[in-house]
């Protein structure tokens, strides 16, 4: 059924810390590895070693430059399905292959009933759905639905593969519908935000903004900035060095 559930018992999702993400692609690689053998397997690649390689990935890491000049900074930005609460990607699906689970809010595509019409990918503002050219069906993040409830794997692995892989701990997983959960508290504490709220898809995933930059340009005023140039004393020896410097740098 592509009609959306009125409400979901849980709102499982990810919280991504843009302050600590280093853009290493570990999450994307781990995602690809797990999911090419998981719920929506395979995630096909076309010409993986050819001149124009392309493949289906469920997680993509952009890097952006923010600001101009010496105060600019690089922010790495992982982008995957946000498991929205009211996503048009589900309601536009003509077959019922796309659906949102009432129990935990995960948005899934059933690879056995999808006809590959691609309309859902047009309806997603976040580019989270990728069509599998080889299999003719749509793929998207499953929030590792085949890990998080999987009793055949050790308990510490029952989290999405991307969260497990992240070496800097920039990815957090949990129930964002429960205000007492660790992820909800993290969002509250760090001012986590949703992407493109004006689209009204009500994403569940949250992004934690980078913390204020701390370096010589922005250091707080109680630590005095080192002087750019030593203050001249005007001594004769100094004038001599200046003169020598001038001669030598001709």
């Amino acid at each position: 059924m592509t009609s959306l559930p009125q409400s979901t018992d849980k709102k499982l999702g990810l919280v991504i810390d843009l302050d600590t993400c280093v853009g290493c692609q570990a999450c994307a690689t781990s995602c690809k590895e797990w999911n090419t053998g998981g719920y929506s397997a395979p995630l096909s690649d076309i010409q993986p070693y050819g001149v124009d390689p392309q493949g289906t990935w469920l997680n993509r890491i952009h890097s952006y430059e923010i600001g101009e000049g010496s105060t600019s900074r690089t922010v790495h930005f992982p982008r995957s399905c946000l498991h929205c609460e009211t996503p048009a990607c589900v309601t536009v699906c003509p077959t019922g292959a796309s659906y949102k689970r009432a129990e935990d809010g995960i948005v899934l595509v059933n690879p056995d009933t999808c006809i590959g019409c691609k309309l859902c990918s047009w309806a997603c503002p976040y580019g989270a759905r990728e069509y599998d050219y080889a299999e003719g069906v749509m793929r998207k993040c499953t929030l590792c639905v085949d890990r998080i409830y999987n009793e055949h794997i050790p308990e510490e692995d029952r989290i999405p593969a991307c969260v497990r892989a992240c070496p800097t701990g920039a990815r957090h997983y949990g129930d964002l519908g429960d205000s007492e959960s660790k992820v909800s508290k993290l969002v509250a504490e760090r001012g986590g935000y949703a992407l493109l709220p004006e689209m009204d898809y009500k994403p569940v995933n949250r992004y934690l903004p980078p913390r204020p930059r701390r370096d010589s340009n922005t250091a707080s005023s109680d630590t005095p900035r080192p002087a750019e140039k030593p203050v001249s004393t005007g001594a004769a020896i100094e004038r001599l060095f200046k003169f020598a410097d001038k001669i030598l740098s001709r």
């Binding site: 592509t2 009609s3 843009l18 994307a28 390689p53 392309q54 493949g55 289906t56 990935w57 993509r60 952009h62 890097s63 952006y64 430059e65 923010i66 600001g67 101009e68 105060t71 600019s72 900074r73 690089t74 922010v75 930005f77 982008r79 048009a88 589900v90 309601t91 536009v92 699906c93 003509p94 077959t95 019922g96 292959a97 009933t113 999808c114 006809i115 590959g116 019409c117 691609k118 309309l119 990918s121 047009w122 309806a123 997603c124 503002p125 976040y126 580019g127 990728e130 069509y131 050219y133 299999e135 003719g136 935000y193 992407l195 493109l196 004006e198 009204d200 992004y207 903004p209 980078p210």
Partner: protein
């Protein structure tokens, strides 16, 4: 958006096919088209061929065409599913109307009304597939569905006039209606283009990443070195000058030329009207395919702002 030929052909052909069904029904109701066998055979035959060809072409767009039947199931929420259901439902009255017309040379007003209603509903659903997507500003526009409807009626009319001329029937009044429809379509299309050109493009990379609060955001490194599906499908964009040229083609060749040719045929010497009618069909077909190509090529998807587009 990537202009896929399967979808361009589907929407233009089935639009014209439903338009032709509407015209055959309406002309029958007005008594302007007697239900004769030969004319019925060719006219309904062409309408069904256009619709059927369009539907076939649309399944070429699918990754799993053998599962297409599943698309009839989600009419509660999906305009694409509704379109499928209505497209098939309209075959019932239209088919019966055609059978009566061709085999019994009789006309049933009730079936004609049902054909008109379901054909309009089908084209309406087609328009709503696009208009309902908030991710594409040029489509999420209240003129999109009216344009689909008016274009279907206008294109069906130009084809219907050809049949009237071929059967040497009175075509003066139907010609005036068709001209009015073509000009209405031209006016709507014109204001649509003016509208999308002046629309505020409020989605930026800063807004989409939420990082705009820290300064101007520009993409430094793409997630992938060659285009992925999202870029191939959603990243298509057409140059401004090229688009303007194609807009003029769509407007003048696809709508105004057929209107002029139809007007001319009212005063043309006997025997030349059919040639003018055929010319009108040809010009219209070329122009409307251009129009539909542009409808896709000019539509910017919001996801492009994640990939370095200024705004969408």
């Amino acid at each position: 958006m990537h202009p896929a030929y399967s979808v361009i052909l589907f929407t233009t052909m089935s639009g014209a096919g439903y338009g032709l069904l509407i015209w055959l029904s309406a002309l029958g109701l007005a008594g302007a088209l007697p239900p004769t066998r030969t004319l019925g055979f060719f006219a309904f035959g062409l309408a069904f061929a256009l619709i059927g060809g369009g539907l076939m072409s649309s399944t070429a767009h699918l990754g799993r065409p053998e599962r297409a039947w599943r698309a009839f199931s989600q009419w509660r929420s999906s305009w694409l599913s509704r379109e499928g259901v209505l497209a098939v439902a309209s075959f019932v009255p239209a088919g019966l109307l055609a059978i009566n017309w061709i085999f019994y040379e009789s006309f049933s007003p009730a079936l004609a009304w049902a054909t008109i209603a379901l054909s309009l509903a089908t084209v309406y659903a087609t328009g709503m597939i696009y208009q309902s997507l908030p991710t594409i500003r040029a489509w999420h526009n209240p003129l999109v569905t009216p344009i689909y409807l008016v274009l279907a009626i206008a294109t069906g009319g130009v084809i219907a006039l050809f049949f009237l001329r071929a059967a040497e029937l009175q075509a003066a009044r139907p010609s005036l209606v068709a001209i009015a429809m073509l000009l209405a379509a031209a006016a709507l299309k014109w204001s649509y283009w003016t509208g999308i050109d002046s629309a505020q493009r409020t989605y930026t990379a800063g807004a989409a990443t939420g990082l705009g609060q820290f300064g101007k955001v520009r993409m430094l490194i793409s997630p992938h070195s060659t285009a992925n599906y999202v870029m191939r499908e959603m990243g298509y964009s057409v140059g401004r000058r090229h688009a303007n040229k194609l807009r003029r083609t769509a407007l003048w060749v696809g709508l105004i030329a057929p209107a002029l040719l139809t007007a001319l045929s009212l005063y043309a010497p006997a025997g030349t009207e059919i040639a003018l009618a055929l010319l009108a069909v040809a010009a219209m077909a070329f122009g409307i395919i251009t129009e539909r190509w542009l409808f896709f090529a000019e539509a910017e998807h919001v996801v492009n702002v994640y990939y370095g587009a200024e705004a969408a």
